[in-house]
Symmetry: C3
Subunit: 220 residues, 3 copies
Amino acid sequence: MPNDADLGIPDDAAPDPQHDGDPQQLGIAGLGARADRHRSRGRARRLPEAARRGGGSRGVSGRIEARLAGLGLTLPAVAAPVAAYIPAVTTGNLVYTSGQLPFIDGALPATGKVGADAAGGDGLVAAEDAKAYARTAALNALAAVESVIGSLDRVTRVVKVVGFVASDPAFTGQPGVINGASELLGEVFGDAGIHARSAVGVAVLPLDAPVEVELVVEFA
Amino acid sequence: MPNDADLGIPDDAAPDPQHDGDPQQLGIAGLGARADRHRSRGRARRLPEAARRGGGSRGVSGRIEARLAGLGLTLPAVAAPVAAYIPAVTTGNLVYTSGQLPFIDGALPATGKVGADAAGGDGLVAAEDAKAYARTAALNALAAVESVIGSLDRVTRVVKVVGFVASDPAFTGQPGVINGASELLGEVFGDAGIHARSAVGVAVLPLDAPVEVELVVEFA
Amino acid sequence: MPNDADLGIPDDAAPDPQHDGDPQQLGIAGLGARADRHRSRGRARRLPEAARRGGGSRGVSGRIEARLAGLGLTLPAVAAPVAAYIPAVTTGNLVYTSGQLPFIDGALPATGKVGADAAGGDGLVAAEDAKAYARTAALNALAAVESVIGSLDRVTRVVKVVGFVASDPAFTGQPGVINGASELLGEVFGDAGIHARSAVGVAVLPLDAPVEVELVVEFA
């Protein structure tokens, strides 16, 4: 199970899966929160100032970021826009995020389906590990939120979380897995982090990720 | 197939699956609409007055509740908040509910995947039974809505329904199953109950439930 | 792989799967965007003027429709309301669509699960074909949007896309498939078409469709 201290990854960039336009690449296309070295200039142009980050020397600027730091977490870099979608969009006072995978430094810490008993070398991801990945995916989702509203201090309520768990058909503990996301949001935002939620078990996720988390967040 | 008269469960409480904090319990974590005897004081503190209910003697107070009564239904109790999520959240004039399972008196009436031909002892849930469970899940979702806006009479439109059907891979009748939810909403709200909807077949749902239903509802 | 020029289907109507009310029909129930010959009068009564269309002689009336025409596309007919749900609903300045299948002239161009290597006669749908179907489903979703706001010229932003891909458990290229929808939205709306997105692989979809796409769109 990953250490929580490993879940916040400042801003190292990852290789670009180059999933657009080439049918041969359909199988390795990613989702919103991948870091993307080759498009860093695009990111600097497109994302607000607050989303542009230096290295490990980056300061902690807000109330919520201070709380994240107290949890041993920092917001990871968000991916540059790829294809015709981006990590998050605002409408009115809501932010909708793209589905976020548990990328750490641009790579998935594990792949495969989540199973109830993953100790026997059956190739399944253990539920408690998947819970940690859901926490990572939620952290990536917060980075996506911050990229469009500038500061997480503007968040007034986490409205909705949808958690998809790539599941062995016999695994029915999706809520326990997605608690990894829910608990992080509670720790970070307090009462404002208490949300409505759906957790479902799906056949397979992009890049064979074990979990995917999306948010609807209200901001002021 | 459950009798419609059985689908409305006033307020008996169910055992708490205690799914938080204990990795051993990951497999039995539940979703929003479970009744929860052990946290009834918490519920009384956190939910609005209208959500606090007495026993079978509870009166029918509103226009929509009267319509439910005419359908032989009463709103079930909603679960107390568990972990960092709750049955429903409002933002602006919208209510987002958590995904609701077809709990009746805190227990699932059936578990397993839905299949096209469930008569042969293959362990699958029949589509017509699953349709009744979708109706129950939608009723639980209405209880979740009421818990945050006080009265269903304030509902001006059911905006969106997403219905997840735990499906045998050969079963393609998800819309017919989720019609159980859609038809209830039409019966209860009339034109205001006519909604946009997505129905999908997923690998597995929490607690091995056959269906899960979530709502976005507009209120005044 | 279907030719893009085939993806826009003006308005020929399809047979009604008659999926309501008859438990025997649960297996063939459809989703929002089916054309429906038998209810054309219902459509004319219920949908706004702009949604009522003539045959091939229909004129191109708006900026966005002109752009669609430049792409070789025309908006297909939307289905009449079936059961208690409809192709799209507005709340405030948002449109929520129903999940849209890749119907062309009321029929699915292919059925089955999407697989990574579909050349070997294994019955799977090829990823590049599925990408084309996602484009078709997105076009159907635009028709659903137009049916409730009268003109796509009113769209100010595509906020969110959720793409469900019926997936062989070994297929992990869902983002590449849903790029078919994302790229269409970018081509049609430019910057306003750049959205947040989730792509997931599900066990099975209604009518054994390979993809299903839903939208949240902001309009003025």
